[in-house]
Every structure is written in structure tokens, then in C-alpha cells.
């Protein structure tokens, strides 16, 4: 009898919590069962790639990419891979440039190394991030696909930071038109970066 009130209160709290957060969503995203992936694929085909299923598929992909340490890590790019014709995307830290080895366009993004922090930790984190981002679908996840990491050293060989090398955004069938905004702004295109209509390859 003395316990009844606290117990009722606990049950009520649990019910409130469960109503706010449905843990099944979270569990499905993380369960390592191929049947779930097959079911999601089937439903996406039947339901015109409905957003929740697309996202669930992406979440499973992201979680798998993070957990699967057997996947080949993205090693550092060799020193002889250079990036030329850099053009900074205005008001952003990202730079569009061309790879010397493949002559394709890429987006470079910088990860800073703060002296006094652990070089091993950041190196490990950067490689893990690159590995995960190399395995995600940019159209689903809105994260660019990573092609590798370049280590940036100063003249004395000390670590200054890293460059993450991303593929250009993939072309996407346009459901939402941005044309108004961008057509209107092309004449004053000082804040944009124009790249080829064939973004994957640099014409030489």
C-alpha cells in the first residue's frame, strides 16, 4: 500500500518517456540483421523510396560503416598526389580543386590540429571519419563521399592538420527548383564557385 503511489508514479513516468521516445526506431537502425535491409529495400521499391525508409536504410548504413572495422581504412594519400587550381567556395572553408593523379575535381575540407592535443587521437578520428564517409550515399545522407585524407605538415615535418578529400556532389533530379535563386545571382556570382557541368572530370 505504501509502495503503490511511488510505483504508479514510476509507471506513469515510464509511459510518458516511452510516448516521447519510441525505442524501436533506434533498435531497428542498429540491429545487424540482413533481413531488415532486404525488407527496407523492398518497401522502398514499392513505396517510391519513402523518406522514413530511405533514412532508416541510411542510418543502418552509417552505423554499419562505423562498427565494421574490417573495412579497409582510408589511408593517407601519397605525397605525390597534389591538388591544383584551388578555388575556395566563398564564405566557407571548403575548396574546389583538381587532383593531380586522376584529373578529377574534388572538394577539400580542412581538419585543424591544435598543438597540445593528441596527434594519435586526431589522426585516428580523421581516418575513421573518412572511412565512414567513404561508405555513405551522399544523396541519402547529405554528407559528401570521402576519397581519402591528406596529411598537412609544416616545413619541419610537424603536423598542421589534415585535408579531407571529397567527391563533388552527385547530380540529382531536381524536385525543388533553385533556379530562381541561382539564375538571378549568376551575374553577381562573386559568392559562388562555378565548376564544370561535368563535375567528375577536369577537361585538360
Amino acid at each position: 500500500m505504501y509502495l503503490k503511489s511511488p510505483l504508479q508514479s514510476s509507471v506513469q513516468e515510464f509511459e510518458d518517456w516511452y510516448r516521447r521516445w519510441d525505442p524501436s526506431w533506434f533498435l531497428i537502425a542498429r540491429l545487424a540483421l540482413p533481413d531488415i535491409d532486404a525488407e527496407i529495400r523492398q518497401h522502398r521499391l514499392e513505396n517510391d523510396d519513402a523518406a522514413p525508409l530511405k533514412i532508416m536504410g541510411g542510418l543502418r548504413e552509417a552505423h554499419r560503416a562505423r562498427m565494421d572495422t574490417n573495412r579497409r581504412p582510408l589511408g593517407f594519400l601519397p605525397d605525390n598526389v597534389a591538388f591544383y587550381l584551388p578555388k575556395q567556395v566563398d564564405l566557407s572553408s571548403a575548396t574546389v580543386c583538381a587532383r593531380s593523379d586522376s584529373h578529377t575535381l574534388a572538394i577539400l575540407d580542412y581538419v585543424e590540429y591544435r598543438p597540445g592535443t593528441s596527434e594519435a587521437d586526431i589522426s585516428n578520428d580523421v581516418q575513421n571519419l573518412a572511412r565512414v564517409m567513404s561508405n555513405l550515399d551522399p544523396l541519402t545522407c547529405n554528407l559528401l563521399r570521402c576519397e581519402g585524407v591528406k596529411r598537412n605538415n609544416d616545413e619541419s615535418g610537424r603536423l598542421r592538420g589534415f585535408s579531407l578529400v571529397f567527391q563533388m556532389p552527385p547530380p540529382r533530379p531536381s524536385k525543388v527548383s533553385l533556379s530562381n535563386e541561382h539564375v538571378n545571382s549568376r551575374s553577381e556570382d562573386d559568392r559562388s564557385t562555378m565548376v564544370s557541368d561535368q563535375p567528375e572530370t577536369l577537361s585538360t
Partner: protein, 229 residues
């Protein structure tokens, strides 16, 4: 293909930017954050300068200068740049932030960006000074009007209050009630009354982030994906 930063797009303030476009940008930003969190990383630098947009209506999260794995050590480092601090939760502003960084701090930053996207107005202006030097100035009048206080913490919370008031007063007419509610949820995600934080916020700070990430997935994503124009 045109690639812009979201800041560049906001600063052009083209009147033709549709609500559907704003919503598409908002959804893709939320997705990027969710997938990053799902892979156990925090971004720590979400603002319009770290989002790239394309003319096909997609946006991509970049700007990984400060990211870290959720399991990695946090160094409690910050800086005093006002134009970056406005995207940081009050407890993460300044050179010596008082809280360890969690996924919910990313959610707060996302909320500030979603407010900007919804209003389609830049909180930060980049102008050229009288001697040709680049200047960074507050954009919206309300942001500039945050009173200068000696106590940085009070000022930081004052800014959060201004952002929340801005969302409450101006966002419904631009983006509707659902979007407004979502933005306010993000801005209040670390409040004790938040639906993302169950009970004592301090216990959540030491969480490994998985529970927080899951609530975020449930809360923000399902709400934003529900919105259609």
C-alpha cells in the same frame, strides 16, 4: 554545377527563394547531422559557412575542422569569435566553455541554422570596411541588439533568448507552426524541460551519446520529414 556556401546563399537574399527550397535545405541539414551522429561523431561547427548548397536543392555538411568521435576525449577548448558563438549553446561559448560537448550541442547549432534558413536572412554580414578591410557584422537587428554585458554567460543566454523570441515571433508566418516548433525544440534541446532531455540535463551530458542521438532521430527528423508545403 554551382556550389555555394549556405552563408553565400543567405546573403544574396534573393526574393525568389521558395519555402519549398528552404524546407529542402533544412531537411538535408537535419539528415546530415543525424547520419553523422549515427556514426558516432559530433561536428562541433555547424553554421552556414560549413554547409554547401547546390542548385539542385541539396545541401552537404562540411567544415569538419573541429569534429571528434563521441568516444574521444573532449579538450574543452573554445574561442571568442562572436560570429561563431551565436551558433553555440551558451554553455559552449567563449574560450573556456563550461560543458563538455555532446550531440545536443550540435542540435542547438542546427536550430540556429534552421531559424536563419526559415527566415532566409543571414545573422552575419560580410562587408568591406572603409580601408578595404573585410568586416564581419551582425545581420539582423535583433541579433545586434543583444545588450553588451560584462558577464559573458548572461550575454550568451541573452542571445539564446533573442533567438527563441525571433523564432516565436517571425517564423510562423514564414514557415508555419510545425517548423517553428521544431526550431524552438532544437534551441531548447539542453533545457531541463526539453523533450530531448528527460529529467536532469547534467546526467545526459555524461551519456555516451547513443540515447541522445536516438531521441534526436525520433524528435527532429520525424518532425521535419513530416512537414510538406
Amino acid at each position: 554545377m554551382n556550389i555555394h556556401s549556405l552563408r553565400g546563399s543567405l546573403l544574396r537574399q534573393t526574393p525568389g527563394v521558395s519555402i519549398s527550397f528552404r524546407l529542402a535545405i533544412a531537411k538535408s541539414m537535419a539528415r546530415a547531422v543525424i547520419f553523422l551522429h549515427s556514426a558516432s561523431f559530433v561536428h562541433k561547427n555547424i553554421r552556414p559557412e560549413t554547409v554547401l548548397t547546390t542548385e539542385s536543392g541539396s545541401s552537404y555538411l562540411v567544415g569538419f575542422q573541429k569534429f571528434r568521435a563521441t568516444a574521444s576525449h573532449t579538450y574543452m577548448l573554445g574561442d571568442a569569435l562572436w560570429h561563431e558563438n551565436i551558433y553555440r549553446h551558451p554553455t559552449r561559448q567563449g574560450v573556456a566553455p563550461e560543458d563538455m560537448y555532446t550531440m545536443l550541442h550540435d542540435v542547438y547549432s542546427l536550430g540556429v541554422c534552421l531559424l536563419e534558413v526559415g527566415l532566409w536572412s543571414s545573422f552575419v554580414q560580410h562587408v568591406i570596411g572603409p580601408n578595404g578591410e573585410p568586416l564581419i557584422l551582425p545581420g539582423l537587428l535583433e541579433i545586434a541588439a543583444v545588450p553588451k554585458m560584462r558577464d559573458e554567460r548572461k550575454r550568451a543566454f541573452g542571445l539564446k533568448r533573442v533567438l527563441t523570441e525571433l523564432a516565436t515571433s517571425k517564423l510562423p508566418s514564414c514557415m508555419g507552426d510545425k517548423y517553428t516548433s521544431l526550431v524552438i525544440s532544437c534551441l531548447s534541446c539542453l533545457d531541463k524541460t526539453s523533450k530531448f532531455v528527460n529529467g536532469d540535463a547534467t546526467t545526459e551530458i555524461v551519456d555516451d551519446g547513443i540515447d541522445l542521438g536516438a531521441r534526436y532521430i525520433q524528435g527532429v527528423l520525424s518532425e521535419i520529414e513530416d512537414i510538406s508545403m
